[in-house]
């Protein structure tokens, strides 16, 4: 029992980090049909911007998050305008993969050149520093914050997609782009806005998750597979699915690390294999 209580908060925190970063990718893959391998690269840009804002500009933590999210979206605009726009919902997977992995290498190189190869600190405000006493055990206060961020992101996204005008337009554009256009929905704008949303979420996740996934130039490549796995296990495009997958995989990974650290990521991938074997389209995915 004590073991379980020891593991659960860590598992929940790790799962929420995975969720916050991967949900943007899930939206891109599910709704826009773009296998965006550069998703982690945008998360990394967010991390770098936050680090820069906090250490060099000396702004407060919430402002830094804001700068990171908006800054990353601005950085992504030329990529969207020149490159991504050509691959929404049309081109085959190979083109998408070659394009997005190219972008990833490009961003890795640039980050390495500008910020250097060492990992960059994202100093936390005093409120989130240090341990927090749960009564049962101590947990880093930051982990609680991460869990909160994950829950808020999930609820906000669900409301956005299911309950708003934008969500209706988005779903219409996704289900039948031509018909949506014929009905007066400007799909190009909807797609671009969704892209910005996905990138912004990546940046947000990159910043709040930096304690668990430290920001360094190889971030984009190192965690690429992890993010893709979350999406494929959860089912692309499904908020509920991404949440379930993140929590399940977070639990598998953390339990493995606790009980048998020398096995590395073995348990993470065992969980992936089992889930994908039983649910080939992911937990909440639809067959396309």
């Amino acid at each position: 029992m004590q073991t379980l209580l020891g593991i659960l908060p860590d598992a929940l925190a790790y799962g929420m980090v995975l969720f916050t970063i991967s949900i943007g990718l899930s939206i891109m893959m599910g709704l826009m049909r773009v296998v965006n391998l550069a998703h982690g690269a945008f998360a990394m840009i967010g991390g770098y911007l936050a680090s820069f804002a906090l250490t060099s500009l000396g702004v407060s933590y919430p402002i830094a998050i804001l700068i990171a999210v908006i800054g990353t979206v601005i950085v992504s605009v030329p990529f969207e305008f020149l490159l991504y726009r050509r691959i929404y919902r049309r081109s085959d997977e190979l083109t998408q993969i070659l394009l997005t992995i190219g972008i990833t290498f490009f961003i890795v190189g640039i980050a390495n050149y500008i910020f250097g190869p060492t990992s960059k600190p994202i100093p936390l405000p005093d409120l989130l520093k240090g341990p927090f006493d749960l009564g049962l055990r101590m947990i880093p206060a930051h982990r609680l914050f991460v869990i909160g961020c994950g829950v808020v992101t999930a609820v906000a996204l669900w409301l956005l997609i299911e309950k708003t005008e934008f969500g209706v337009r988005l779903r219409a554009a996704v289900d039948n782009g031509d018909m949506a256009e014929a009905l007066g929905i400007r799909t190009q704008i909807v797609y671009s806005a969704t892209f910005a949303l996905a990138v912004g979420l990546a940046a947000f996740g990159g910043v709040v998750g930096a304690e668990l996934l430290p920001v360094e130039p190889y971030y984009a490549l190192r965690y690429m597979v992890t993010f893709l796995v979350v999406v494929s296990v959860g089912g692309a495009g499904s908020v509920t699915g991404a949440m379930a997958a993140s929590l399940l995989l977070g639990l598998a990974d953390t339990t493995g690390k606790y009980l048998a650290p020398e096995f590395g990521e073995f348990f993470f991938y065992v969980a992936v294999i089992v889930i994908v074997y039983v649910f080939p389209h992911g937990l909440f995915g639809k067959a396309h």
Binding site: T3, D10, P121, P131, P140, A141, L212, K257, E262
Partner: protein, 391 residues
């Protein structure tokens, strides 16, 4: 046909004369982590070597010495071996130096005897590396060398139950073995020994496990680089530091460039190591001044710069002893038993193990002039490599 032969002879003559002209430049191949997550340490190789060259010039016994750098990037034995081959065959280097990671050094070792090239290991810290070839000398440190004093200090500080957490690869296992053996001989108890995969970034579960084990001290080793910061942070943030669990490590975990990132929460962390940037000696002051003159930043200095500086000293000595000719046996014989005062303190090359014998210092993270430093508080004099030393 005759004409072709004539051309061949001419070509041979030219290549011979070119060969003779080139003999005046002696090339030294340096394999280090020049890019990637560990680039800081490769950069320090260059800073250290440049400092030596700035101090002693680039000619030895009438020969010009040229350092050629190659990028080892990550633990990748096949690539390092290929780089060493390329340096030997194409660049015709007479000496090799560098190697940050143990597996990479191990992969290069078999080439040395065949190519008659001595190698000065500037970092890789598994004891057995120098046993892999008689042409290897090492100016860095070994896990045993730094860990045995750590275990003794742990006992002195009153630790009874220790949890060991090390990176799961050669040096980590050396550190675990060395600590366990020494600490148990001293009468302590090891309650937990965790081997963490090299790519671990989330240390929360490991901290929880250590906490549940009831240990009153953690001993850890991770290779200096991004993960060490995560480990120390997890130790603090999971309440282990506040809960009175002490942290003891080798200096790799608290390298000076990482200290500002660990922050004041790191005050009081103990470590044993062979070099602290704050080491108080005229040699170290002069060395740091040289590094800064060469464009190095004080905040970026790590142990690899000292290893490289002393490594360059050995290479100059070997070139001097052989008169610039390729004679590895003579070269290695010349540095065996060599003694000098390094920026880290008095050192010597053990003639049996070809590893550097040096002081190991106990340090504590302290604040001095608004900066976090590893303050040396105790000295273990002339430590050999306890892993290789005949006992």
């Amino acid at each position: 046909m005759v004409k072709t032969l004539g051309w061949l002879c001419a070509a041979a003559a030219i290549s011979l004369s070119v060969g003779a002209a080139q003999a005046d430049t002696i090339k030294v191949g340096v394999i280090g982590t020049m890019s990637g997550p560990y680039a800081l340490f490769g950069k320090n190789y260059k800073m250290g070597i440049d400092a030596w060259v700035a101090e002693h010039g680039n000619t030895v016994a009438g020969h010009t010495v040229e350092f050629v750098y190659r990028d080892e990037v990550s633990p990748n034995p096949a690539q390092s071996k290929a780089l060493a081959q390329e340096l030997i065959v194409k660049e015709k280097v007479q000496y090799l130096a560098g190697l940050y990671f143990t597996p990479n050094a191990m992969a290069v070792a078999p080439l040395l005897q065949e190519a008659k090239v001595p190698m000065v290991v500037l970092n890789a810290a598994t004891s057995s590396i120098t046993e892999k070839s008689p042409y290897i000398v090492r100016t860095s440190f070994t896990m045993f060398q730094n860990t045995v004093p750590a275990a003794k200090v742990a006992k002195q500080k009153g630790a009874k139950k220790v949890a060991i957490a090390v990176s799961d690869y050669g040096p980590g296992i050396d550190a675990e073995t060395a600590f366990k053996k020494t600490f148990e001989t001293e009468g302590g108890q090891v309650v937990e020994a965790i081997r963490m995969p090299l790519n671990t970034t989330d240390f929360g579960p490991i901290m929880q496990r250590i906490k549940n084990s009831g240990a009153d001290m953690i001993f850890t080793f991770l290779p200096a680089g991004p993960p060490t910061l995560g480990f120390v942070k997890a130790y603090i943030d999971n309440g282990l530091k506040a809960g009175g669990v002490k942290l003891m490590s080798t200096g790799d975990v608290v390298t000076e460039p990482d200290l500002p990132n660990i922050g004041e929460a790191g005050l009081g962390i103990l470590s044993t190591y062979h070099y602290a940037v704050s080491h108080d000696s005229p040699e170290n002051k002069a060395f740091l001044a040289l590094l800064q003159k060469g464009g190095g930043k004080l905040d970026e200095v790590t142990m690899t710069s000292v290893a490289a500086y002393d490594g360059a000293r050995l290479i100059y000595k070997m070139i001097e002893a052989t008169g610039g000719k390729s004679d590895p046996d003579k070269a290695i014989a010349a540095v065996k038993g060599m003694q000098w005062v390094s920026p880290r303190g008095p050192v010597s090359i053990d003639p049996d193990t070809r590893h550097i014998t040096q002081n190991v210092y106990l340090r504590e993270v302290e604040k001095a002039d608004g900066k976090l430093i590893n303050k040396e508080i105790d000295t273990f004099k002339a430590q050999p490599d306890w892993g290789l030393a005949k006992q």
